[in-house]
Each structure stands twice: as C-alpha cells, then as structure tokens.
C-alpha cells in the first residue's frame, strides 16, 4: 500500500486535471486560494490556462467565455465570491454553459470568518440565481471525495451543459489528509455532445428525448451564437411565450428528471435501527463516528451521507428513510437542508442538530440527539 498526503484544495486541483480541465480562473480568497495555487502549478506547463481575475466577476466571466470556446473550465471561491458570481451563474444556467464552481464555504454572513468552516451556503447555491432553475451541487466529505467529486462535476457540467458546484468547506479543503490516489476509481471522462456542423445547426436546439443541445464552439468553423437574453432554439432573443415556456421547462426538467443518474451517497446500515441520521460534508464524518459508537447500544442508528445535494435526490431519501420513524439531520448551519427533509418526510419525527460557531459538530452531540431527540 502507498498513500498520498494532500489538502482537500490540492485534491480538487488534481481531480480537475484528471477530468480534463484545461482552463481555470480565480480570485484569491481564503479558504479557496489553495485551489488557485494548485491550478497555477499544474495547468500552464501542461498547455492549459490559469488566470487570476481582477475580481470574482471577471474570473467566472473568463471561464464562461473559454467554455463557449470549447474549454473545460473551473473557478473556485468562497461565500463572498459566490455572491459576486451570482449574475454570471444565472447566465451559465440559462445559456447552458458548462463550468465547475468550487465553493469552499467559510463562516458567514458576509466577510465572516475567513478561516472558520460552515455549510452556510447550501440553500444559497441552490437559489442564488435569478431564475429558480435547478443547479447541481455535490458535497465532499473528505479529501478523497474532493478528488472524485470534482471529476464527477466536470462530467456532469459537460453532459448537462450547466454550472456544477462543489460545496466544499474550509474543514475539508484546508485539512491535510492521507488518501490512496491510485486506488480511487475516477469515473471515465465525459465530454459535451458535439453538434453536426453541416446540418442546420441551432445553438439551443433539442428534440425528442434529447434535453441538452449539441455544442459547437465559438471560434470553430461555423459561426455560432451565445446570448444571455431569453432566447429560442436559434439563440436569438424571443418574446414568444410558447418558446419561452418551452425553454424554461426544458432547463428545469433536464436536471430534475436526471438526478437518479447522478445521485451520489454513502450509507451505513445498522440492524434494527429506528433512527436514520442524514448528513453531508465534513459533518458526515462526525455522524459516522457517532453511529459506529452507538451500534451496540440501546439507540442504534443508520446513516445516510448525501453527496448529491441538488437537485434533491428525493427518491433516495424516501427509500432510505422508509424503515425509520426517527430522522436526525445534522449540518453546519442553523437549518438549511433539513427543510428538504421536512418537505419530503412529513410523517417522520425529524430532529435537527445544527451549529454556526466555527467549530465542527462533535460525535458526542450527535449521539445525544440520536438517543434523546
């Protein structure tokens, strides 16, 4: 056996490289700067591009331009930068621009605490655009996930032509950890579906079962259009309610109907458990410790670790919760994802444990809620 030792941020960089990333742009911000540092070392000597934008808006703008020119792009920031990305995120959603966005969450609100962790952006990532249209958010638990889920994020961004977020956390990104890179099973690379440039190409044309338009790059042999305006299949602004409604419905459905294809999770099934703990991100590690310690106690609990947070993997959550009456949701905020559980599982007793003080939630705190609600 052999091990590697790296921070979550470095693993995100290596994962991006393994997935074929060839363009990165970012603006320095703790706790995400390590990703920029890593990409600056990895990309330029390998023929890729790594840029430092004058601000976050420019950084993601570089990515959107490069992505439409055919590159596989990534940017990384923290809560304050996600706030500045917001309008560009809306653009990427509505105009179907593949981009991987890493949010290394830190304790907010606002400037908050640069070096303290939290999972305070979980609903913000979902709803931080001006459309309400869905996005994909994946949440790593450890350094290994930072590597694997970043690879997965690239595949999803390409396959569905959309922004894909990694909801990391200072507590994973800036924690150094051993992992065995060679033993990891990185999914094989998926690249965006190219369109036929000889046929009558429509930049947002879909049909039949196809929910994602075929791609031709800006700068390719055939002139193509991209626009942030409400557009029809031809990429020109439209005011036709039918075309508008069809486009909105497609953007909504293309991710929501496909979530079972990319529902990532881990579980720990404990026999005779009537309690199911649900957690994500770094908190899932404390939850795992808690569940293992209680395995032989009077209060056994099973564990579901969600790695695909958005779109909500509703079928998975309902299925895994079916045999338990008691649900314990643990997250590093004051109650964000638990809203989804309350919506999906109205008949269950749902206890919530949250914390926003810059500290990790401890296994003991979780054990307490499992046992005593």
């Amino acid at each position: 056996m052999a091990l590697n030792l790296m921070e979550g941020n470095e693993a995100i960089g290596w994962g991006a490289m393994a997935a074929g990333c060839n363009f990165f742009a970012g603006y320095p911000i703790t706790p995400a700067t390590g990703i920029y540092n890593t990409m600056l070392k990895l990309l330029p000597p390998r023929g890729g591009v790594c840029l430092q934008g004058e601000d976050e808006i420019a950084s993601i703008g570089f990515c959107l331009g490069a992505s439409m020119a055919g590159m596989k792009t990534m940017t990384a920031t923290s809560g304050p930068g996600i706030s500045l990305y917001s309008e560009q995120i809306s653009f990427a959603i509505g105009s179907e621009i593949p981009v991987v966005i890493i949010d290394v969450q830190r304790l907010g609100p606002s400037t908050g605490s640069a070096t303290k962790g939290a999972d305070g952006d979980i609903q913000f990532l979902r709803w931080g655009s001006s459309s309400g249209l869905p996005v994909i958010v994946l949440a790593p638990v450890d350094v290994k996930d930072c590597y694997l889920l970043t690879g997965q994020a690239f595949n999803l961004a390409e396959q569905y032509r959309c922004p894909v977020f990694i909801a990391a956390n200072k507590e994973i990104s800036m924690t150094r950890e051993t992992l065995d890179l060679e033993a990891l099973d990185m999914p094989s690379i998926i690249n965006r579906q190219m369109a036929d440039s000889t046929a009558s190409f429509l930049p947002f044309g879909t049909g039949g079962k196809q929910q994602v338009p075929g791609f031709l790059p800006i700068g390719g042999d055939r002139p193509v259009r991209q626009t942030s305006s409400t557009h029809g299949a031809d990429g020109y602004i439209t005011t036709d309610p039918e075309q508008i409604a069809a486009m909105q419905a497609r953007l909504d459905a293309k991710l929501k109907t496909a979530v079972s294809e990319f529902t990532c999770f881990e579980e720990l099934n404990v026999q005779n458990a009537d309690t199911l703990v649900i957690a994500y991100g770094v908190t899932a590690r404390a939850a795992k410790a808690a569940v293992r310690r209680l395995e032989k106690s009077d209060h056994p609990a099973s564990l579901l670790i969600l790695k695909t947070l958005w779109p909500v993997p509703e079928a998975l959550i309902r299925e895994k919760a079916a045999s338990c009456q008691h649900i314990v949701m643990v997250e590093m905020n004051l109650g964000q994802y638990v809203r989804e559980l309350r919506r999906l599982l109205p008949d269950k007793k749902i206890d919530f444990l949250g914390q926003m003080n810059g500290e990790l939630i401890k296994p003991g705190q979780i054990m307490e809620v499992i046992a005593h609600g």
Binding site: M1, A2, L3, N4, L5, E10, W14, F23, K41, L42, P44, P45, V49, L51, E54, D55, I57, A58, I60, G61, F62, C63, L64, G65, A66, S67, A69, G70, M71, T73, Q88, F91, A114, T115, E171, M174, T175, R176, E177, T178, L181, I218, G219, G220, D221, R222, P223, V224, R225, Q226, T227, S228, S229, V282, R285, K288, A289, R292, L360, P363
Partner: protein
C-alpha cells in the same frame, strides 16, 4: 465578400442613431481586412450597443452588463487566432470599469469599441461616466456634481497599447477601426456619437460639435509609445512553456511499523516561526510511512510572522472519521500564544494525555501527565523545538518511532535540511 451583416436581422436602432453608422463601419472594416465570418467574434455588452451581436453573421457572444471584456478575454485565451471585437457603451464602461483597466494592463489582443453617446439610451437617458456636467439628462442634478472621464486618458494610464478617438460621422471611421483591429494587443476606440432617442432631445450635439470637441482633447501618442509591449496571450504562452511540469503527488510507501494501535490525537501549540505546521506535516508523513491514515488541521492568524500557531494531527490505523480533537494522546506546548488559543482544551485534559512542555511556559490546571523539557539547555534553537518534541516522542516509542520520523524527514526535506534535522533528532535523544 460583401458584408458580414445579418440580412435576416436588420438594425433596429432609433432613426438617426449613430450606432448604425458604427455598425456599418465595423462591417466594412472587417470585410475590407478580408476577415471571414468564422474568423471573428462580436462580444457585445448590454444597452443599445449590446444589440450588435444580433446584426452580424459572425460568431457572437452577448453576456452581462459591463462584463463583455471578461468573456472576450476567456475566448481569446482559448482561441488565439480569433479576431475579437467588443462593443460597449459608456454605461458598460462605468459598471465594468475594473475590467476595462485590467484589460488595458494585460494588453490582450481585443478591440474595444466604446460607443460613447454620453448617456444610458436604453433605460431612459440617465447620466454615465462620460456625461458632461452641463448636460440635461434623466438623472436630475446628479451629473452636474460629477466629473466626466476621458476614457482614452484613463486607458492610456492603465497601459492600453492602442488608443484612438473618432467621431461616428468621420469619413475616416472605417480606417480608424481597421487600424485598431489590426493592432497586435489591446486597442480601444472611443467613438463619439449621437443618441437622438434620448440625449439630443434636451442637449445640443451635432457631428460638427463632436468634431470640434474631439479636436481639443490631448494627444494620445505618448501613451502608445510608452505602452508598447508583447501581446498578452502570446506572452502567456511563452512564460507557460518555461514553467516546470509538476510531478505527480508523492506516493508514500508503508516501510515502518507504528508503535500504536487505533487512533492517536496530537496537538502542537506554539507561535509563529516555531515551524509548528511543518511538524504537523512531519507527523502525518511519519504515520503514512507506517501505513497509517493521517489528518492535519491548522489554526493560525491571517497575518503572518506573529501570533499563535496550532496544529492538530490524528494518526490512525483505521479510517479517520471525525477530524476534531476529542481526547489527545499527546499535547506539545511550546509557546504561550498557543496555550492562550487552547485554554479550554488544556484545562479539560484527562490523565490519558501526555504533555511535553517547554520550560517556563505556564499551563492551566489539568490532570494530564506533564513533562518539562529545557530545550535551551540541550542547545536546541526555538525554530527546532517542534521537531525536537516529535523526536522526544519518537525516542519513547510513543505515537511514532525514530524510524518513522526519519522516513518523514526524508520525504519532506532535501539532503542538506535532512542532515540538519537528523542532528536535532539526536540532540533530543534520552540523556
């Protein structure tokens, strides 16, 4: 080739709008230069000048207000052979000011056409960054108390390689556009025009007044001479090719045997300059050299070279779940700053914990077993105390062995530093 204009989408500007003249000027410049539709991208901003992408049968990219230069930069870096033309109004100039300045500084090969008509036409004629103080616009008195800017002087000061001012009505417009587009680097053309829809309803502005106003502005030749340099995307590729390729992450083979079973938590408390974080990394490497899992969390102030420095390491022969410290096996205390940072943890230590403490440092009352080390008496310098403390643990076969520590030193340091580190390890040997 006659025209790159989109026949099925004729221009829809207000009658008499100077944008239409610029649109034809751009078309004639491109076709005159023999640039094909697939060889050019029009990146348009928001506002009336943001309609340009629609009127051309070329590659086109229409994004957010003020951000056109950001997409154009990404596109140019991805497709260096593409001719990239950005159209932006005086509004985009204001909201996207940071991008304008940075693009000038980069000198990337784009042509920015500022369609300057001194107001926000599309939203009702409000004042912009170029509205004269005496103009009557849709922003009430606000423009009277702000100074308009000459974008060419601003861009020149920011490093733009090519600058020009021209009237949309000038016979030399096409030639001016061609020269800007032919420039190998960032070129900016400030094109003064008339917005009859909004601006000239209440303000006098004619092709003649534009011409005489332009003639009075200071020359830009000095800027261009001073700012001449290599184009950015080419300079980038030259520099990138010189960067060393980083080799794959180091694989650490399990070559030693750990003295411990299960999970051990180690906390080092010190101050900046004591190489606390490096010691934490060495602990992780020691663990990995014995096939153990390891995690390391650090705590230090945002500013450097002063204040606390704390590292928390967990070594375990099984998967590490929780990465926080619950019941440390070992706490190494080297500075008061670190003690102050973890007072609560220290006061709650149980008798399971072994504390190694540098002589003279005060600890809160606790149940831990404490051994004091006088590093100075052993002639070990403060920056080496953290390593020496690890060596003390290693000599006692607690947490790690000397063999594990040496393996870690070998992985982490070059041979000169490694030799020095070995001497510290020897100095920490039991006396």
């Amino acid at each position: 080739m006659d025209s790159l204009l989109n026949e099925s989408r004729p221009a829809v500007f207000c009658p008499g709008c100077s944008h239409e003249k610029v649109m034809h000027g751009v078309d004639q410049a491109l076709t005159g230069m023999g640039i094909a539709a697939e060889g050019v991208v029009i990146v348009s901003d928001i506002g009336c000048s943001g309609l340009f992408d629609v009127f051309f049968n070329t590659h086109a990219f229409h994004g957010l207000h003020g951000r056109a230069l950001t997409y154009a930069t990404g596109i140019k870096m991805a497709r260096p052979h593409l001719k990239v033309i950005v159209t932006m109004g005086d509004g985009g100039l204001g909201i996207g000011g940071a991008h304008v300045l940075s693009t000038c500084r980069r000198n990337i090969d784009l042509t920015l056409l500022v369609l300057n008509n001194f107001n926000y036409g599309m939203t009702g004629g409000q004042c912009s960054a170029t509205t004269p103080r005496e103009a009557v616009v849709g922003s009430g008195f606000l423009n009277r108390i702000e100074k308009p800017m000459d974008i060419c002087q601003v861009a020149g000061a920011a490093g733009a390689g090519y600058l020009d001012r021209v009237s949309a009505y000038d016979k030399g417009l096409v030639a001016a556009l061609k020269a800007a587009m032919a420039f190998d680097g960032f070129s900016l053309v400030d094109i003064w025009g008339i917005c009859p829809g909004r601006y000239t309803r209440r303000n006098k502005l004619t092709p003649k007044t534009i011409e005489s106003d332009l003639a009075q502005l200071p020359s830009l030749d000095d800027f261009m001479a001073r700012n001449a340099r290599v184009e950015y995307s080419r300079a980038y590729r030259q520099e990138a090719a010189r960067q060393p390729v980083v080799s794959d992450p180091i694989r650490i083979k399990a070559s030693c045997t750990s003295p411990m079973a299960g999970r051990s938590e180690i906390v080092l408390l010190g101050s900046a300059g004591q190489r606390i974080l490096t010691a934490g990394e060495l602990l992780c490497l020691s663990g990995a050299a014995a096939g153990c899992h390891a995690t390391q969390k650090n705590d230090y102030p945002i500013t450097v070279m002063r204040g606390h420095s704390v590292t928390e390491v967990i070594l375990s022969d099984t998967e590490i779940e929780y990465t926080g410290i619950e019941n440390p096996s070992s706490v190494i205390v080297l500075a008061a700053e670190g003690v102050n940072r973890r007072k609560k943890m220290l006061s709650e230590l149980s008798s399971d914990t072994h504390v190694i403490k540098a002589a003279g440092i005060e600890l809160p009352a606790c149940q831990a077993v404490i051994s004091e080390v006088d590093f100075r008496a052993r002639k070990i310098k403060a920056p080496d105390w953290a390593l020496a403390a690890l060596a003390i643990l290693a000599w006692q076969n607690k947490i790690l062995t000397v063999e594990m520590l040496k393996a870690a030193l070998k992985l982490r340091f070059n041979s000169a530093v490694y030799e020095k580190a070995l001497r510290v390890v020897e100095k920490a040997a039991p006396q």
